[in-house]
């Protein structure tokens, strides 16, 4: 892989912003048109993956420091989804009872409907982005941070 590929690096950097916009559009219009949290998460994750290919793991993580919150993003997304799914149990309703219920009025901002399935979708989006980023980080640079492991095996060899 030629790391000096200028075209690839420029495109990778330029694609990040539009990918987040496309993801936001997929979530906003998800309930009236094609698209949901999974698709939106994968769009952003693919843009991040292109950055990893173009800049290398160390380069991307220097250029985008917020990437190191990816594990928290993934766990936070799962917790949001769990809360939406199991929260109604605390209120004495059945699992995945969404509010407002059928026939009730939903507050809308443009085509964005504000109801609990939207929160669930955002949780799925956060989890997919976080999971894909952590996987890229793990596969791109698996040796960094495992020095103490090698130290221990070296110690074992000594008499």
């Amino acid at each position: 892989m030629n790391r000096n590929d200028v075209m690839l690096r420029v495109v990778a950097r330029l694609l990040l912003g539009p990918s987040i916009m496309v993801a936001a559009a997929l979530i906003v219009k998800g309930y009236n048109d094609v698209g949901d949290g999974f698709a939106a998460g994968m769009v952003v994750a693919l843009a991040i993956a292109l950055c990893y290919v173009a800049l290398g793991a160390a380069g991307v993580e220097d250029a985008l420091p917020p990437l190191r919150y990816a594990p928290r993003l993934a766990v936070g997304g799962l917790l949001i989804s769990l809360a939406v799914g199991f929260g109604p149990l605390l209120l004495g309703e059945s699992l995945f009872t969404h509010h407002p219920g059928p026939g009730q009025h939903v507050v809308t901002v443009g085509s964005l409907e504000l109801f609990t399935p939207l929160l669930f979708d955002i949780g799925v989006f956060m989890l997919v982005v976080g999971v894909m980023t952590v996987l890229l980080h793990q596969f791109a640079d698996p040796d960094r941070g495992s020095e103490d492991f090698h130290d221990r095996t070296d110690e074992g060899k000594q008499p």
Partner: protein
Amino acid sequence: MAEEYIRRTPSAHGQDVVTVIITDFRGLDTLGEITVLLIAVVGVATLLRKGRLW
């Protein structure tokens, strides 16, 4: 079953059947799937980096 999902989609405040099924009608399945995703990542981290996620 399929016709029933399509018939009930408007009552979930949506027009896209796929999204409504994923997040609403079959929401528990989606929750299970994303839990599997996170467990897979923890497995990769355990194999490659002694369980450190970052």
